[in-house]
Every structure is written in C-alpha cells, then in structure tokens.
C-alpha cells in the first residue's frame, strides 16, 4: 500500500516548513468564506485548512501509489487509439485513472467550493501534480490541465462559469488548451485559426491546431484570430468550443514518451464556440496567465518523474553487487546518487517557494477582480503588493520551470546510468522515465524561452530585491553563517555580471542568459537550503554540499559572461559549418 505522500520525506518536510498558514489565510480570505454553497466542507481556521491539505495530499498519495502507478507500464506500451471518425479512445488504464481521480474529488482541485472544487492553493496542487507525475508522468498532462477551469473561472462570464465549472469539478469533462499551430509554436502571436461570427452572431472557428495535449477532451479552450486586420497578439481572442462533430482529431502524434497523454492534431470545421472574456485579450491577458500556472505545473511534473527515477536508482545502487560490494560503495556511483537527490531537493525548494508567491499573487488578483476593497489605503496596499509579486513571479516561474525540467532530464539520465545495461532495457521503468522526462524542457515554453524570460527578471532588479530579503536572515549557527557569507559574495559576482551584460545590450544578454540565470538560481536555492538547514542535521549537510559545489560553478559562469565572448554569434557560419543537404 505505497502512499506517494507519506513515503516522501522531503515533501512532508516542505509541507511542514512552507508556512502554509499564511497561504491558507489568503486562499480562504481569512476564513470569512465558510458559509454559502458547499460551506459544510469549508475550513474554519488555518489549522483546519492545513489539516485538509494534508488529508487531500494523502488521498493523492494513495491514488498515485496504489491506483495510477501500477498501470503506467502498460499504458506506456499500448498508448491511446485514434478512431476513423476523428474521435480518440483513451487507453482503458488512462480512463480508469481519470475515473478514480474523479471519484476521489481531485479534478476540481483549485476551483472555489461554490463550483464544487476543493479551493486548494497552487502549492498544494503542485505537490499533487508531482505525485501524479511520479506515478505516471503522462497522466500529469491530464490531471495538470485544471488550469483550464481556473482560466474559465478567472475570465469567463458567470453564465459560462455556472455551465462548465461544476462539470470540471465532478470530473465529467476534461479540457485542452488549444494554442499551438504548425506555424505558431513558441511564437503564439502568429496564430492564424480563424474566429468569425455568422449571421446569427454565433462565433465559429475554422482552421487547424497541432500538438494539442488532450485535444480529444470535451472542452477546448481555443486561441483564435478574431480580428483579421490585426496581425499580432492583440488580434487574438480566447474561445470555448465543445467536442462535437464539427471538430475532429485528424492525427494522433507518435511520441518519444508520455504515451498516455493523447497529443492531437485538430481540425475545426466552422465549429461553434463561445467567447471567453473580452475580444483581443486572448493571448495578451488570458493565455499569459494560463501559461504561468501551466509552467509551475511542468516544474511539478519534472519533480515527480525525477523522484521516480531517483528511487529506482537508489534502490538498485544498494542491491546491485559488483566486485563483491554494493555498487553504491563505488565513489563514482555514490556521487551520482547524492547529486541526484540534492538536485531534486533543490528544484523542489525553488518550485514550492515559487508556488507560495503564486498563491499570494493570484489571491490578491482575485480579490482585486471580484471583491475590490472600498478602503483606499487597502486598495493601494494590495495594488502595490500585486506589482511586487508579479515582478517576482515573472522571474521565479520561468526559473522553476527551467530548473526543474533540466534537472529531471539529468536525473533520469543518471538513474539510467546507475542501472547500466539493465537501465537501457525495458525490464526496468527507468528508460520510460528518461523518455517521459525529455519533453519537460520543450513544452509550455522551451528552456531557452524560460531563460529569456528569467534573465530579464534577473537583470531588472527582481533578483537583487528578493535576495535582499533572504540576506536579512541571521543564522546563530556559525557554520551556517559562514555558508551565508559565501552566498553574499556569490551574489556580488552575479551583480557585477548583470552590470556587464546590461552595458552590452539585449543580444548579449540572451547569449549569456543561461549562465546568468543558473548563477542567480544557485544563489536563491542556496538561501532556501540554508533556511531548511536550521531544521535538521541532514539538511545542514545538503546545504553545505550544494553551496560548496556551486560556488566554483558560479565563478566559472560569471567569468565567461564577463569575457565578452560572442563568437557563437559573430562567427556562426564558420563555426557551425555549412548547412547539410536535407537528404
């Protein structure tokens, strides 16, 4: 009876140390909302809310460990099926997973109670995401699509909300965010699917979408060009279309990994649709908001698959004997296993810190949108906080997505290496983890795009301001204080590099963005680990190992940044060589 929450010491640690009482207070409007529809399961105070979160996560841990994980191998081997009529039949295991998630009331995780949801904050939802992903990385793509319901809640009319949200919460429907097109991937401003109004004023959608996760779902949140004369993102609006005869799946992609997640090519044939919110705000407001949540979700997915891979490797390193000893006694293996574990904890620390800030920001936005305070000072305070959190989040969210996804590929890869030949075979799940992990640095914005977003935060003062708050913390313990001093020095190095880069311009910033962002993340995570280190001896060692390992890396990266090197741009043709012929 494995429980993926109760057996995960680090998740339990974070649950206890993330100061969830503050998150619960903003999520529940200081517990003033426990009347009204479904008030019978509203929490009475912070302690009650945290108890609910713990119980919910324990249910997710049970479902993940006992229901989802046992089906993952078969789902990976068999996949979903495209039917001749343009519909998709989910693998019976995927369908069973969705059914059990619905039965456990887990498909309206973050929706307000008035629509039948659990009203859980992002930090709890992301922990759930991590556990689902550990059980079956591909199922996270369906479980993790709850941001669609959130987007409807945040921006659609009351009528649309009342019609669709309870169906999401009951698990009757799943959704898809239908954005990508053959010529509009990373660059969503180029979306061309046509939205037009017929003689009755009914909106209709016409065109093709590609690489749509769960495009066979019932509710298709579709980005389309409603203003044919405006060529950029301001000509795009967001629409809700329902699955039906006027939208069909033309192709089901065959992918390297996440086989349980149906990736569809969709053809819209004058499909009737409803406008979400206002015209022209589709990409610039709604999808941007949706994407931020989705990125944190991918960080959670990355943590889950890394955790799964690490566990197999740790177990194998312990039981596998060569040269008369467990292979974990071999120094190279010992270091691999240690680094994997610390890398996961590092990404976890950053991701859940980000989630906390997301919760503060999102709840503040919700109050400003639906419940604007009459008091002027209060309003100004909220607006000011909102700006701070927004700036911070637009750095931390891409950082988390980038850092966790790159981490999980590395960890899955190392896990496979620990298992050696066995890891390369289908006998162990590690090759599946390595395949499943691979997508995480690609979708919801590639690593390269996350770096572009994050480096602007790093260079615009958000990094400095945030590190200031960390540096204010004093450690009575001498060793921890010494480690902190090292981080203070590292930060100065990063600041020097930022100044250098800013003087050189945007192209240079993007060329060296990864090194700057890596260094900034190492400083942030170092501080987060220091905070954890006050709790127990093991975490002290983790902090020590992480900080001491990263200082030389930061120095190296900063040196390269400050070298002024831009040969990859200046001599691209010479260095990259001629373009090979396509054959």
């Amino acid at each position: 009876m494995p429980n993926f929450f109760e057996d995960n010491e680090d998740l339990l640690f974070l649950f206890d140390h993330l100061e969830l009482a503050d998150v619960a207070a903003v999520q529940e409007d200081d517990f003033m909302r426990n009347t009204g529809p479904n008030g019978e399961y509203a929490p009475l105070d912070a302690e009650d809310a945290i108890d609910n979160y713990r119980r919910v996560l324990s249910i997710v841990g049970d479902v993940a460990g006992n229901h989802i994980a046992p089906r993952a191998e078969q789902i990976d081997a068999e996949g979903n099926t495209l039917n001749a009529d343009g519909t998709v039949t989910l693998h019976p295991g995927v369908q069973a997973n969705l059914d059990v998630l619905a039965k456990a009331d887990l498909m309206g995780f973050t929706l307000p109670r008035e629509y039948g949801g659990l009203n859980c904050p992002c930090v709890v939802y992301t922990m759930a995401t991590e556990m689902v992903s550990r059980a079956d990385t591909s199922l996270m793509n369906l479980f993790g699509l709850q941001g669609i319901a959130e987007t409807i809640y945040a921006f659609a009319s009351d009528e649309i909300k009342a019609e669709y949200l309870p169906r999401f919460a009951r698990g009757e429907v799943t959704g898809a965010m239908v954005l990508t097109e053959p010529d509009a991937g990373s660059d969503l401003q180029a979306v061309g699917l046509r939205a037009w109004q017929d003689d009755d004023g009914q909106w209709r959608l016409t065109g093709v979408k590609r690489f749509i996760t769960n495009g066979c779902g019932e509710i298709l949140l579709t980005l389309a060009r409603s203003e044919p004369d405006i060529k950029d993102g301001r000509g795009l609006s967001l629409f809700l279309a329902e699955r039906g005869p006027r939208v069909r799946v033309r192709h089901l992609e065959e992918k390297l990994g996440i086989h349980g997640s149906p990736t569809c090519e969709l053809v819209y044939d004058d499909t009737p649709a409803k406008l979400i919110g206002e015209r022209q705000r589709g990409l610039v407001t709604y999808v941007m908001s949706l994407m931020n949540g989705a990125r944190v979700g991918i960080a959670g997915q990355s943590l889950g698959v890394a955790e799964a891979a690490y566990r197999v490797a740790r177990q194998y390193a312990y039981t596998r004997k060569q040269f008369g000893v467990s292979i974990e006694r071999l120094p190279a293996v010992a270091e691999m296993v240690t680094d994997m574990k610390i890398a996961i904890e590092a990404a976890r620390a950053l991701t859940y810190e980000t989630c906390r800030i997301c919760d503060f920001e999102n709840n503040n936005l919700r109050v400003l949108e639906f419940n604007k305070p009459n008091d002027k000072d209060e309003l100004n305070r909220r607006r000011g906080n909102g700006r701070t959190w927004k700036r911070l989040n637009s750095m931390l969210t891409p950082m988390s997505k980038y850092y966790a996804s790159e981490m999980c590929i590395r960890v899955a890869n190392e896990a496979l290496q620990v298992l050696g030949g066995s890891g390369y075979m289908k006998d162990y799940p590690v090759e599946r983890y390595a395949r499943d992990a691979r997508i995480t640095t690609i979708y919801e914005g590639t690593s390269q795009l996350q770096v572009v977003a994050a480096v602007r935060g790093v260079c615009s003062g958000a990094f400095e301001k945030h590190v200031d708050t960390y540096e204010q913390r004093e450690y009575t313990d001498k060793a921890l204080n010494e480690l902190k001093q090292k981080l203070v020095e590292a930060r100065l190095l990063v600041l020097e590099a930022i100044a250098f880069v800013k003087a050189r311009g945007t192209e240079y910033m993007d060329l060296h963005g990864r090194r700057l962002v890596d260094s900034a993340i190492a400083v942030l995570v170092g501080h987060l680990f220091l905070r954890q280190a006050t709790a127990n001896e093991r975490k002290r060692l983790v902090a020590q190992r992480f900080i001491e390992q990263h200082l030389p890396t930061i120095r190296r990266d900063i040196e390269i940044v400050r070298s002024g090197d831009q040969m990859a741009i200046d001599h691209y043709k010479t260095l990259a060589g001629p373009v090979p012929s396509a054959s």
């Binding site: 249910i59 479902v63 456990a104």
Partner: protein
C-alpha cells in the same frame, strides 16, 4: 429496483507491517504495537456495495464492532460514500470469538431491519478465519455467497453472481436478501473522496465527544464540560455528523451468546516462529537448476 446494503467492516492491526514486538509473550497479537487500519478486504466489500448503489440506487450502511477507536473506519466509510455509519461497542462484547461476533453483528443487522445485501470482506487480516460472514448468514437465515468476484446480472430479487472456487469460478443464482463475502480481486476499492473527507472528518460518536471535551478543557468543572458536550452533540446532530452508537442492549442481544461466555473457541497452542534462513538462494540458470528448484518447492509444499 434499488437495493439497500449493509457493509460489515473491521479495524485491524496492520499485520502486513509487522515489527519486532508485534506478538505478546503469550502469543496473542500486541494491538498497541501495530497501527490500526481498515481491514483491506472490507474496503472491497464497501466498494461492491457502493457500486450496487451507483448502478441501481439505494443505500449503504456501514457497521463495525469494536472499541471507540473503530470510529476511524466508520469515518473512512463515510469518506468513500456510505450513507450511514453505526458503531457497535460494549465492554461486555470483549473476548468474543467468531461465533459470538457473528451473533452480535447479526442482531445489529436485524435491528437495521430492511436490507437486500450484507457485504463482508472475505476475512480479516488479524485472525484470517473467514468465519464471521458465513456464520452471520446462518444466524440471519439468508443465502450466502462467499468469495464473490462480480455480479453477472442483478435485477429484481434475483442476482447471478460469479464466485471464485479456488481453481476456477462458478455462477450462482441467488435471491435477495443475501450475504456476500468479497475477495480483494473482486474490484479496485475506491480511495477516500476529498470533499467528503473535509466534511466527515468532523463526524463523531457521542463517546468521542466526551473524550474530545475532556482533552480540550482539562481544567473545566463537570458542569462546564457537560454544557460543552451538549453544545457539540447538538451541532453534530444539526450537521448530520453524529455517528450512531449501539450497545448490546440496543440490539436485544442475549448476553449468554456474547463476549467470553458466548465464545467456545479455545486456543490450543501458539507457536512463535522466528525465521532464521538467509534471504535468498542462488539457483543456476540451467534446466537442472530449474528442475531442482521445482522439486524443492514441491517437497516444501509451496507448490502442489
């Protein structure tokens, strides 16, 4: 037609995770050393009942016999969808063997009155007797189907049921009311439902309220405590969160048949076996090696 089901559930020590002090010196189970859990196959019994309700309508009532701590399994039933939960608790029932237990439970079922199905797990993991279900059916004078796998068909008062017969299966046609014991392979028992957990985690039996108040207000006078108890009980009633509690008098039980006096089972001898062998043996990956292994397993009575 809708069906009313009763599910008998039990809180048991988690014998799957046995630690060093799991047995007392006299060879009986040291319940204090093991975490108390929901007997696994009772979850399959509950699932079977909930599935009948989902397909045909009706009600599901959970009942457990045990000390006050057994309220935890009743709440677990409510989390999964049970409509009603009853705790059967009485000091005079202590020491009951399977005969006395089945008598007491059958009296409780008679008190509930109208029902179509009684579902039980095949057996509990503490005693592994698989006797209580069949004995209850005898005492209630109803048909019994043990080792239930699934309903082949259910309409009106007739059920066609597939049951496991060890090396295969058979289909029986049975008329309601009946008692069914359910195998862990019969279904995938559902997890707790989050919304119901948030709600029913507050469900309490009256005796639990007394304990809760004593813990919450250790220095209060008796009168203050009583007032607080009354306030809490009233709130539980209003919110439909009061777990029913019955004792032997409530179910008209004949005390002769309950507890130690109603339990003819005598423990003849208990052996405490400590495994000393190494964890594994190496078998050469050859035809002869496999033959030797099969032979050893047969001699060992592991096979055949």
């Amino acid at each position: 037609m809708s069906y009313d089901s009763i599910v008998c559930v039990k809180q048991v020590p988690d014998t799957a995770n046995v630690t060093g002090d799991a047995m007392k010196d006299d060879g009986t189970v040291n319940r204090a050393a093991l975490p108390a859990i929901f007997n696994p196959e009772d979850l399959n019994a509950l699932e079977a009942a909930l599935a009948v309700r989902e397909q045909h309508g009706g009600t599901v009532t959970a009942i457990t016999m045990g000390p006050l701590g057994a309220c935890e399994v009743l709440r677990a039933c409510l989390y999964r969808g049970a409509d009603r939960a009853v705790l059967l608790t009485d000091r005079r029932a202590a020491g009951s063997d399977t005969l006395a237990t089945s008598y007491i439970l059958s009296q409780a079922i008679k008190k509930i009155g109208k029902y179509d199905f009684v579902f039980c797990g095949r057996q509990a993991i503490d005693g592994d007797t698989a006797q209580v279900g069949p004995q209850m059916a005898e005492k209630l004078g109803i048909a019994q189907v043990t080792y239930f796998e699934r309903f082949v068909d259910l309409s009106g008062r007739t059920a066609r049921i597939r049951r496991n017969v060890g090396n295969g299966w058979e289909v029986l046609e049975v008329r309601t009311p009946m008692l069914i014991t359910v195998l862990d392979t019969a279904n995938e028992a559902r997890p707790a439902a989050a919304r119901r957990v948030m709600r029913y985690k507050r469900a309490r039996a009256a005796d639990e309220v007394i304990k809760d108040v004593a813990t919450a207000m250790p220095d209060a006078s008796d009168a203050e405590k009583e007032a607080e108890q009354a306030r809490r009980l009233e709130a539980l009633k209003i919110n439909a969160l009061l777990l029913e509690k019955w004792d032997l008098d409530d179910i008209d039980a004949d005390l002769m048949w309950c507890g130690v006096s109603g339990s003819p089972t005598k423990v003849h001898r208990i052996q405490s076996i400590v495994l000393t062998k190494e964890g594994y043996t190496e078998i050469p990956p050859t035809e002869d090696g496999v033959k030797q292994l099969v032979h050893e397993l047969i001699v060992d009575h592991t096979l055949g």
